[in-house]
Assembly symmetry: C2
Homo-oligomer: 79 residues x 2
DNA sequence: TACAGAATATCGGAATTTTCGATATTGGAT
DNA sequence: ATCCAATATCGAAAATTCCGATATTCTGTA
């Protein structure tokens, strides 16, 4: 148990949506990141934090600019 | 001991430079963040990771857009 | 240079988080 | 209802974080 203040759930949801938009499975993305599927599952559920470098790598794997992800997080967190 | 792959040092250096540009001491920024000075010292030295939400808060406290920080990190990390 | 005070860095060890494979659960299609 | 893909959860060892107290480094000034 523990972690996710609600805002971390928002982060996970945004990252999950970006992944799904690309038609990737957690396992696919995990492979690109060199991590197990449970890693992706965990952060998408807001159970694990993503640090700056991880975000850069995830954004890169998803073929998006980090700022796109940030913009969406801020947008959703403000509701 | 441990953490900082070199890239985490870059993250810390960038954040330190942004802080200094604003004429803030670690203690000042720490106060804005509700954390001890050792927190700022630690991540600026690349000894502690900064997660996405923390970056948003730090950027906000420094009066800059998160993307400015990212851009600089990517720029420096690519050298 | 020598000093004072400000600024930053380091320590220690308890608490929290992360790790990853194995397993369980859920979801979608037929 | 069954099959299989996709995602979620577990556990317990390893790694990281936490923060105040203290040490060190830095800066200006006599």
């Amino acid at each position: 148990m523990w972690i996710h203040p609600d805002e971390h759930k928002v982060v996970g949801e945004v990252l999950a949506d970006f992944r799904k938009q690309r038609g990737l499975r957690q396992q696919d993305l995990a492979g690109l990141l060199g991590k197990p599927q449970s890693f992706v599952s965990s952060y998408e559920a807001g159970q694990r934090r993503i640090d700056i470098l991880e975000l850069l790598r995830i954004a890169s794997a998803l073929g998006t600019a980090p700022n796109e992800i940030f913009t969406e997080i801020i947008h959703r967190a403000s509701h």
